[in-house]
Amino acid sequence: MIGPTATIGEYALAGSLLTGVAVVMATIMQIASGNERLARVVKFCSVLLAGLLTLSSWALLTALLNDNFTLQYVAKHSEKVLETGYKVAAFWAGQEGSLLFWAWLLGLMGLVMTIGGRKADSVQTSVALAVMAAVTAFFCLIMLFEGNPFAINPVRVADGRGLNPLLHNIAMVAHPPLLFLGYAGYTAPFALLIGALVAGKRNSDWLQPARYWIVFSWVMLTVGIVLGSWWAYLELSFGGYWFWDAVENASLLPWFTGTALLHSAVLQARRGIFKRWVATLALLSFWLCIFGTYLTRSGVVQSVHSFGESPIGTYLLVSLIAIALGGAGVIAWRWSHLRPEHNTEELINREGMFLAANVLLVLMMAVTALGTIWPVICRILGRGEVTLQASFYNSVILPMALLLCLIMSSGPILGAGNGALARAWGRLTVMGVIAALAAIAMLVLGLTSPWTIFSAATVAAVLSGVVINIFYAIRVRITSHQDALPLAIVRAFTHNSRHWGAQLAHLGMAAIIVGVVGSAVYGTLDELEIKKGETKIAHGYQLIYGDLQEVRRNNHTAVVATLDIVSPDGKQKFTVKPENRFYDKGMQEGQSAREVDLHMSFARDIYTVLGGWDNTGPIGIAILQFRINPLINWLWIGGALLTLGGLVCLIPTRAALNVPQHEATASDATPARTQKLASK
């Protein structure tokens, strides 16, 4: 018995494909005939598309929640005893379901754009909606022909195979949908750009809604990436959080260009410059989201993450070529419309720093992309199977990231336009001195690794840059608005929230540098055999192995080791209980999931893994992995700050509500205005 919901879901999917095609056809006819009434058809069909995909998604979700194992997808990714939350997560846990989820998000975003585009030019809106509908229809096409989530299971089964035990983690429930939100979100600015270009618009009005999509997608991608790393750190028991795996890299590529797009869009909106950067980066970010999906799902790159070889790779490859040619074609056609409204006459000013950051981010993307596809290039060239190690990325990306942070810290200090360097010279000198002092402090403390010294200088530059920004923003409020100090402090932060959101994100980057460099340079690893009741010393820590217990839980049996740990100074005593879980389903016989146990602090994590044991003899022996990961929690704090900064940037500002810029931004006008005021 297939059940009516699955049939509804499949028909709704087919209907979505036809509706998507209808949106594109109606738009073409609208442009060809100039018939404005067709815009209504486009909007109606876009709403219908969202409705049909919601219906289809509801059908799959219902099948998962009702244990409808007649569907192959449900049997493969769920089981009766699975908790409800994980049954919902199974929606995006497999190839077919994740494609439907992505298409659904695109449909909903199309709906939001339909509502948001009520007042915009009709051709512009129709074209933007047609791009969204075309991408959505493309996903429906793939599902209907190559990955149908409503396919019937050829074998009758009483229960499903269940969700991979490694995915039984809250971070893993949230990580995929957030990444999909980011990936889907980057379609919207691309669609709005194409809409504006096809409609022949020369102004930057399209950026008003697009900026929200750009920031939203960036935030989602950021949280998704950070949660994925956190999950890897907690669940994969490797002690690391990022392995430069092809699929991890795939999510990082649009993040690099998305970050550049985020910054370029600010300059286009404010000063009418960087238009060509914005257009190119919008295309590139969207293209890289599909490219990442191609890497993940085509089997072209060997990855421990990948979905395995799949025929959808061909579809994605064709779409990549089509998007590149189509997108680049439209941008080239309207290249003259993207001419900057102002010319830059100097390099060392805020625009120059934005430009340098853009170039650097694009280069970081290019290096990561090259490293990711390098094994494929080697295979094609007949050089055999090659794996590019983490050391490659670390030696290339980390110096670039440090340089980027330096640019990032000086950008907000420098003002816009000519003479910025001269005006900000004093502040830059203060920043430079603080950075140099931080580097010297590291040397004095005996921390002589070049990574530590450069990172300390960079982090100090970022922190001092933010403090200087705050100081001048308050000063501007006092001098130009005659605010009393307490009011000036409040208003300095409440006016121009986007500026402070960006500063928060910059602090997040500095925290990430602390976490990455601290854990990588000073992390330790010991693998040891330890007998019951025995005490071993590892890097000054006393490890006392207490006991091994077998515990039966809902869907697994756990072997739990108890380890008492005493810190080198004897002041801290704590117990960790790493365990191995033997799940009833979802793993091969004899295979278990190692559950890490941590003792966390701002200074370091004590990371323990139970690697094996022997309880057969008179004395029990355990194999333990004991890691000290210094400063690693600053990585997660940095991720949280980045996210928070992005969310603050989503709050509509007075500037966004067309309040004149000088009224809305105190800190933004800081250097030039303060100079002027000081000279009065």
Binding site: G308, F392, Y393
Partner: protein, 149 residues
């Protein structure tokens, strides 16, 4: 204006060249070949001892020394026809057993034993599909785990 454009072009070129050099230098020492046992043994002895590689093969049932609850293992890795003795240090993956397909990373010592500190219990090209594209749990490479900059 042209003057500024020239400056931008020069700055961009310098930046791109620096990154290109970093990438070239990083790539020079940052890669590792995955070879079959037979292919590896065809290489000159000096190269076998000098270059770190990943070897893929099957664990022979003979000369298999791995004790439960102990670190490390000694075994013979078989390719299509050739074999090589392997000495592995570190936590033994739980799916490791005689007849298992494994990938070991390291290099050969002067006595002809392949000294490895990294072991994966399946060859990289033979991973099963994992739900949601997430990995089947295996031990990572030391380089990955350490990830020193």
């Amino acid at each position: 204006m042209t003057h500024v454009k020239t400056k931008i072009a020069v700055a961009g070129l310098i930046l791109a060249s620096a990154v290109g050099y970093l990438a070239y230098a990083g790539m020079d020492k940052g890669w590792v070949y995955t070879l079959s046992v037979d292919h590896f043994l065809q290489k000159p002895a000096a190269e076998q001892q000098r270059t770190r590689v990943r070897l893929c093969g099957t664990v022979e049932p003979t000369d298999f020394q791995a004790v439960k609850g102990r670190l490390g293992a000694k075994f013979v890795l078989k390719g299509e026809t050739a074999t090589i003795p392997v000495s592995y240090t570190g936590i033994v993956p739980e799916m490791f057993k005689a007849g298992a397909e494994v990938l070991v990373e390291g290099k050969r010592d002067a006595s002809g034993v392949f000294q490895s500190d990294v072991m994966l219990t399946k060859c990289a090209s033979k991973y099963e599909e994992a739900p949601n594209g997430h990995p089947v749990k295996t031990k990572p490479t030391t380089q990955e785990a350490e990830a020193k900059p």
